[in-house]
């Protein structure tokens, strides 16, 4: 019989926008003074965000609108999240950026406190929101293993017991007494993960730490996570890598706008996320040309990146369609529009443009440009699109960065059963041929050719 090890009960967390960091003594004094006189908090724009009024706030906020008003200073990172995790389950937490995954993990790892609600936990929790927390560059690998292990909650004797195992796993035996600042970044990550992998908690919380290192190392990490899960430990796993979630997790939770949207069998939840998750989000539009970004010559009306009609979501196998709508207000320009595709690391993948008019004959009105990103081209990951309008191929009329962002989901195409995201910027599906030369000495070598 499986027993409940984590109970998340009406968990909510909000952040106040804008004022964070700008707090000064003057503000606090005026706030206190107002409270003493029984007035509203003068600095709160949402009707008295005084601590004792939090619950009323939540209620009024929640009933009036489902989402907070756009100009509200409250950001609900989590709203009323309830679910349970049983012992031995591997729970995948998925959702778009900003859905509340990281906030949930932060609360579970006690890095920050919730606004309301409770989490009840049975057993020792270890969380890996990052590998190598607290590594000190001046210390040697050996000293860092102890320091990092202790930060993650191990005692000295536990670390000493597992020390050889950790060193073997990290493959840095020869450098163990060298300061970490002399390590390559790959070695540092391997050492850090090795420590983390040898934590022995009853509950392990993992953020996307697996997105580090090379492919072989990613595979090793995923394998280790699988081992942990099979050993009867409970694992909470946050990832954008759907292939990994599907393979590793038994149960999935889909978060949307801070609330639990779907919970159940991992494969089913991933399916729902892939079908429903992205629709409409890769679009940015300004229906009113007067307020649209741009200038007196040209204004951007809409930009979107969407999967082709046959597919519900952009994956490596589907490719995507890019569409840019803009309004031209000045006739007789040599107008061109260029898009820049930038990946998560900020690397510009390519630029591609279209001359709207080549002989000073642009017309007043709305233009719609569209193009197809072929399948098996972009690797899995998150991309953003910059749009630039130019004149005569010389002058920049107007440029807007990060107009839309979109995600390309990982698939296993061409990778066998390996669910890790392949390294590299592009992911072409190459048509490989091979020839085989046998070692036989009698007669001429006769190559055998095959086409896969």
């Amino acid at each position: 019989m499986s027993s409940v090890v984590i109970q998340i009960d009406h968990l909510s967390k909000h952040y106040r926008l804008g004022v964070i960091g700008g707090k000064r003594l003057v503000d606090d004094v005026s706030r206190c003074w107002a409270r003493l006189r029984g007035h509203d908090d003068p600095l709160s724009k949402v009707g008295g965000a005084v601590r004792s009024q939090w619950s009323e706030n939540i209620a009024s906020n929640a009933t009036s609108t489902d989402r907070p008003a756009p100009n509200s200073e409250m950001l609900w990172a989590l709203r009323d999240v309830c679910f349970e995790v049983n012992q031995g389950e591997t729970l995948g937490i998925i959702g778009r950026n900003g859905a509340g995954k990281s906030t949930l993990l932060k609360i579970l790892s006690r890095v920050t406190a919730p606004t309301s609600g409770e989490v009840r936990v049975k057993g020792r929790i270890a969380s890996l929101l990052e590998v190598g927390t607290g590594f000190h560059p001046e210390l040697t690998g050996r000293e860092n293993i102890f320091l990092n292990g202790a930060i993650l909650g191990m005692t000295k004797s536990e670390i000493r017991m597992k020390f050889d195992e950790i060193v073997a796993f990290s493959e840095v035996e020869n450098f163990i007494d060298t300061p970490v600042k002399r390590y390559s970044s790959g070695m540092t990550v391997r050492l850090a993960f090795a420590v983390a992998a040898h934590l022995d908690p009853e509950i392990l919380i993992v953020d996307e730490v697996l997105a580090v290192g090379d492919a072989a190392f990613q595979k090793k990490c995923l394998g280790k996570m699988g081992d942990v899960a099979r050993g009867g430990r409970t694992v909470l796993f946050v990832s954008h890598n759907m292939a990994a979630v599907k393979t590793l997790c038994t149960k999935g939770v889909l978060l949307k706008d801070g609330a639990v949207w779907q919970i159940g069998d991992a494969a089913a939840v991933v399916g729902i996320y892939l079908q429903a998750g992205m629709v409409g989000e890769h679009e940015c539009s300004w229906p009113d040309p007067a307020s649209a970004p741009g200038n007196q010559s040209v204004r951007l009306l809409r930009a979107c990146v969407r999967p082709p009609d046959s597919a519900p979501v952009i994956t490596i196998d589907t490719g995507a369609i890019i569409q840019v709508d803009f309004h031209c207000a000045e006739p007789g320009l040599n107008l061109d529009c260029t898009i820049y595709l930038v990946n998560q690391e900020g690397i510009l993948l390519f630029e591609s443009g279209c001359d709207v008019s080549t002989s000073e004959d642009s017309k007043v009105g709305t233009y719609q440009l569209s193009s197809v990103l072929p399948p098996h081209f972009l690797n899995a990951g998150r991309y953003s699109l910059n749009v630039l309008f130019g004149q005569n191929q010389k002058f920049v009329l107007f440029k807007l960065d990060e107009v839309v962002a979109f995600e390309v989901e990982n698939t296993a195409t061409g990778r066998g059963h390996n669910m890790a995201v392949s390294p590299g910027i592009v992911r072409p599906l190459l048509n490989w041929q091979y020839r085989h030369f046998s070692d036989s000495r009698n007669g001429v070598n006769r190559p055998t050719t095959a086409i896969r």
């Binding site: 409940v4 109970q7 009960d9 009406h10 952040y15 964070i20 960091g21 707090k23 000064r24 003594l25 601590r51 619950s55 929640a62 009933t63 489902d66 009323d80 309830c82 679910f83 932060k106 609360i107 790892s109 006690r110 890095v111 920050t112 406190a113 919730p114 309301s116 609600g117 409770e118 989490v119 009840r120 936990v121 049975k122 057993g123 929790i125 969380s127 929101l129 990052e130 927390t133 607290g134 000190h136 001046e138 210390l139 000293e143 320091l147 202790a150 930060i151 993650l152 909650g153 000295k156 609330a259 639990v260 949207w261 779907q262 919970i263 159940g264 089913a268 729902i272 429903a276 629709v279």
Partner: protein
């Protein structure tokens, strides 16, 4: 064609997912969503816990971490320096020499009839321990935000480790002091140890607690008011001039003396001198006052620190 997400969702055992969308929001204040289980939970993460919910047992659980932090501070501080830990000795030595030349020889300030070097060195040793504890712990939250943002461990482990690693430093500096002490004793200077020497462990404990308490108060406040960081340096200097480090308490005019006595470090330095050198103002009243003030400061500090640590990641 794009499909609306709602239509694709199969009913799942969710309590707050799709049903919430259609039926409007049902806010259930505080009633647990789960049948009550006869469970003993190891950990409950809550919005607000009491001011006195201190998790001091956690600090004990992380004692290995404290010692590793101490080691880290010690090792990393003097890596790639030629003189290494010798700096522990050079710093107070240079300060003492400066004081001896400027205040003792040029300004001809009184040292209660004690050898100048011993007089200043005793003050510098005691004061620098307190001041180092204070300034270093006051950086706790801001300096460790990146670690605190990723892993939970007893946050007090950091300031406590600073106090402990400074204790090693104090030990080395005490060795320096004792060297000079025996040198002057052998040369027949008019100094003699007194019974107050038995109070030495208490004095060190008080200095540590005072530095820690004040430091974590400042640290907790700086998460909201960054301005304090600039004030700390100045404040420490100001405090220094209100201790008998340069002028013995006995030479302070009567009606200004209370200012100095109000500084809890005063009686520690005076008692320290009295214990080793036999001259100085020793009064149980002053020591008692220091002990009381230290207890209050440390208590307030721990409470504030504990209160701030839960949400400081959102404000730092």
């Amino acid at each position: 064609m794009t499909t609306k997400p709602e239509q694709l969702i199969v009913p799942a055992p969710s309590r707050s997912g799709s049903d919430r969308k259609s039926a409007g929001v049902k806010w259930r204040p505080k009633s647990s969503a789960f049948r009550s289980q006869p469970c003993d939970w190891d950990l409950i993460i809550r919005a607000k816990t009491g001011w006195f919910d201190l998790h001091l047992a956690d600090l004990w659980r992380y004692r290995d971490l404290v010692m590793l932090f101490v080691r880290r501070d010690f090792v990393s501080q003097y890596k790639q320096t030629i003189l290494g830990p010798l700096w522990f000795i050079i710093q107070p030595l240079l300060t003492t020499l400066t004081f001896t030349v400027i205040f003792g020889n040029i300004a001809q300030l009184s040292t209660d009839g004690l050898p100048k070097i011993l007089f200043y060195l005793s003050g510098v040793t005691a004061w620098s321990y307190f001041a180092d504890c204070l300034t270093k712990t006051s950086e706790t939250f801001n300096a460790n935000a990146n670690i605190f943002g990723k892993v939970y461990f007893s946050r007090l482990a950091v300031p406590v480790s600073i106090v402990v690693s400074n204790l090693i430093r104090l030990g080395i500096q005490m060795g320096l002091f004792l060297g000079f002490y025996f040198y002057f004793l052998a040369r027949g200077a008019a100094i003699h140890a007194t019974q107050a020497l038995w109070l030495l462990p208490l004095l060190i404990l008080l200095m540590a607690a005072l530095g820690l308490g004040t430091g974590i108060i400042v640290s907790s406040m700086t998460t909201r008011y960054r301005d304090l960081r600039f004030l700390v340096q100045f404040g420490v200097q100001l405090l220094m001039y209100s201790t008998p480090m340069i002028l013995p308490l006995s030479k302070i005019p009567e009606h200004y003396r209370w200012i100095m006595v109000a500084n809890p470090m005063t009686s520690i330095i005076e008692t320290f001198r009295y214990a080793f050198l036999g001259t100085g103002t020793f009064s149980w009243l002053h020591v008692g006052y220091t002990a009381g003030a230290t207890t209050i400061l440390l208590g307030v500090g721990v409470l504030l620190f504990n209160h701030v640590e839960k949400t400081f990641m959102d404000t730092v």
